[in-house]
């Protein structure tokens, strides 16, 4: 087969189709981008003013924390940061849908979910600063460690949910992953296991339209939520910038899982407003127009417009939240700057739960080496 004929063949296959807005399937929405409350035939929500204000506060604090982390990276205090800008509603809405006894399996971008679980924001920064490879006790808030290897955690979530089912407990699991991750074999296997064992797990895909430089079209020819059907469980697409819709849909999915309904796939349709990480330059592969179009769907402005119109919150409240986020940012900034570098000997810590003679031997040799170096320096100083 010649090179030419290959090209001819795939152009016949029609490789390119970046679906226009009209081509998109419907999504669950309860709050329009303008902040108008709309009803949905299947999903509804009724929140108290306090709960509504709480969602606003969560999103503002999360965004502020995220912005602070970006700044800290620019200042050299962090080695890297993966910003969640634009995904606040997807994360706060789904995170607030979880119960304390549910278990969360995040990727590396779930700072908002972590917030809803009560994880100290400072703890999230350790691995990005380079002082640890995880940094919190997953069982303290039922929030697993961040997972960088794409898709792996979806299998852990399915397995954890299988355990819940075996125990006859009534909690549920939520597994976060991205549009890019949906291509991984691990994710397909997680769907298979969860379906076969009717495991109480919600697969929560934040489709932020990009996997580094690759648009979602490079991963899937069908909307991601539709994949669930082939595995034998329902899938739904929700407006990922609508915190009310995300909360309603995720609550329903978790409740379904808790009551024996099995797994469900939620695709939160959202947008990664920033670069992939602070190491990335998005201008190399995407047009700014796209980002600007999504700015009009901003999750925080949308809720704020609704709260104001409803008289649920006013300027004084917004100012109060802003002040609180300043205080939080200051605490984070100071906390990061005073995080000590790890002791070199910590390299050998926690490699095994039951110990290992080779680690012991290498630890001893390294300690001796370090000590000889110090002796030598002291000698030179004298």
């Amino acid at each position: 087969m010649s090179v030419k004929s290959t090209a001819a063949r795939s152009s016949r296959g029609g490789a390119k189709r970046r679906g226009g807005a009209g081509a998109q399937p419907p999504l669950v929405q309860l709050l329009t981008p303008e902040g108008e409350r709309v009803e949905h035939r299947e999903y509804s929500i009724d929140l108290t003013p306090e709960e509504l204000r709480g969602l606003y506060r969560d999103m503002v604090l999360t965004r502020r924390f995220d912005a602070e982390a970006v700044t800290l990276q620019r200042q050299g205090e962090l080695g890297l940061w993966a910003s969640l800008l634009g995904q606040e509603a997807a994360q706060i809405g789904s995170g607030r849908a979880t119960r304390a006894d549910d278990y969360v399996f995040p990727t590396y971008r779930e700072h908002g979910v972590a917030w809803t679980r009560g994880v100290d924001p400072l703890n999230l920064l350790g691995m990005f600063r380079g002082v640890n490879n995880g940094g919190w006790d997953p069982n303290e808030n039922n929030f697993q460690l961040y997972t960088i290897v794409i898709g792996s955690q979806t299998l852990h979530a399915a397995g954890y949910a299988m355990g819940i089912a075996k125990d006859g407990a009534d909690s549920a699991v939520i597994a976060y992953f991205g549009d890019g991750a949906s291509s991984q074999g691990d994710v397909a296997e997680a769907f298979t296991f969860a379906a076969v064992y009717n495991a109480p797990v919600v697969f929560f895909c934040q489709n932020n339209q990009w996997a580094i430089s690759e648009p979602t079209e490079k991963q899937s020819r069908v909307p991601i939520y539709q994949r669930a059907a082939g595995f034998g469980f329902p899938g739904v697409r929700v407006d990922g910038n609508d915190v009310l819709a995300v909360l309603a849909v995720t609550r329903a999915a978790l409740e379904r899982a808790r009551t024996g309904g099995g797994p469900m796939l939620v695709e939160a349709f959202t947008y990664r407003m920033g670069a992939h990480t602070t190491s990335d330059d998005a201008s190399r592969y995407r047009l700014d127009d796209e980002r600007v179009a999504w700015e009009a769907k901003d999750p925080i402005l949308r809720l704020k417009a609704y709260l104001t119109k409803q008289g649920v919150a006013d300027e004084a409240y917004y100012a109060e939240v802003d002040a609180e986020s300043d205080t939080m940012a200051k605490r984070v900034r100071e906390g990061v700057r005073s995080m000590p570098d790890p002791d070199p000997m910590s390299i050998f810590e926690n490699v095994y739960a039951d110990g290992h003679s080779l680690v012991d031997e290498e630890r001893a040799a390294f300690a001796e080496y370090q000590a000889s170096f110090e002796d030598h320096q002291e000698g030179a100083a004298r």
């Binding site: 090179v3 600063r129 490879n133 960088i148 898709g151 390294f366």
Partner: protein, 324 residues
């Protein structure tokens, strides 16, 4: 002769391969418009099209598995794994399929697939971005495993790997991507699997590859100030290993220290120590020593300098070998 970075040399090498053989394809995550996260494929999609420089779905098993299929169809895929720690979803395809198919087909089929992997630490990255898993591949019969240390070797070895009819795991020392060196694009390159004497010496041989060659050259320079003459051998290939080249050097210097970032336990250095002890038992004045990583997960960035073998740790081993 042109001076260029290792990254640029690899880019030029890929460009040359795409130009000279229409069957050569590039595949990987973000290798198209972005040019890869390290820009090694920068500009290639623009010049050779999406049919030959392919942004793949985010699935490493899929990337290598389909590369095998494309190779069966007569193509020569060069796949990029974004970082060392992300090759493992593809490990099954590499070990159970890519490595063995030629033998299973009684030699009737060839699998000219190159798997490029940026590897090693020293760039202050988060976990899974700094590992040195070469032994896990060198241990598998059917795979060839190489790593350039210089822009010149990057330029030539990558083309040789692409021309090779066997699968080659091509480890790129990512912390050396931005180091410059002279590249002679008209030269006749040395064979792919031959070790290179990077610096001649009399008293001890330092054998290294990839990112550690530069460290060993610095060690040799420092040792020279103490009146010690160290030979630095750039192994270039971890499978096969040029034992003849190492033997020739050791018969001259009588002492050998092997250096790599990968854990020493069951590593390349262990194999070299065993073979060289067999081959050069009566020439050796000291046991073959190894400097490398510990039997521990790659540590967080703020302590990696202590973990990575640096000047001091290599010098310490040199001192111990010379004191024997």
């Amino acid at each position: 002769m042109t001076s260029m970075t290792l990254a640029k040399a690899l880019n030029e090498s890929l460009r040359h391969s795409l130009e000279s053989d229409p069957k050569v394809l590039m595949m990987g995550e973000d290798v198209g418009k972005l040019g890869g996260v390290f820009r090694i494929t920068d500009g290639l999609q623009k010049d050779f099209g999406e049919e030959r420089v392919i942004d793949t779905p985010l699935a490493e098993s899929g990337i290598v598995g389909t590369a095998i299929g494309l190779a069966l169809r007569g193509y020569r895929p060069v796949v990029e794994i974004q970082f060392d720690g992300f090759v493992f979803p593809a490990y099954d395809q590499i070990v159970t399929q890519l490595a063995k198919m030629h033998a299973r087909a009684l030699g009737k089929i060839k699998l000219p697939v190159v798997v490029r992997i940026p590897y090693g630490g020293g760039i202050g990255a988060v976990e899974h971005h700094s590992e040195s898993p070469e032994t896990l591949f060198a241990h598998v019969a059917g795979l060839k495993v190489v790593s350039p240390a210089t822009p010149s070797d990057g330029y030539w070895m990558l083309q040789q790997a692409i021309e090779c009819d066997d699968p080659v795991i091509f480890f790129e020392p990512k912390r050396r991507y931005w180091d410059k060196g002279e590249v002679d694009t008209a030269a006749v390159p040395a064979p792919l699997h031959r070790a290179n004497v990077a610096r001649e010496g009399r008293d001890l041989t330092l054998a290294a590859y990839g990112p550690m060659v530069k460290v060993c050259l610095e060690v040799a320079k420092a040792a020279e100030e103490d009146g010690r003459s160290l030979e630095v051998l750039d192994l270039r290939s971890m499978s096969p290993i040029d034992f003849d080249g190492i033997q020739a050097s050791v018969e001259k210097t009588r002492r050998l220290v092997v250096v790599h970032e990968a854990p020493v336990f069951l590593g390349t250095g262990a194999e070299i120590a065993a073979r060289i002890t067999e081959r050069c038992f009566y020439h050796l004045e000291a046991p073959v020593l190894r400097v490398g990583g510990f039997h521990a997960p790659y540590p967080p960035a703020r302590v990696e300098e202590e973990y990575l073998p640096g000047l001091d740790r290599v010098l310490d081993a040199v001192d111990r070998a010379l004191a024997f």
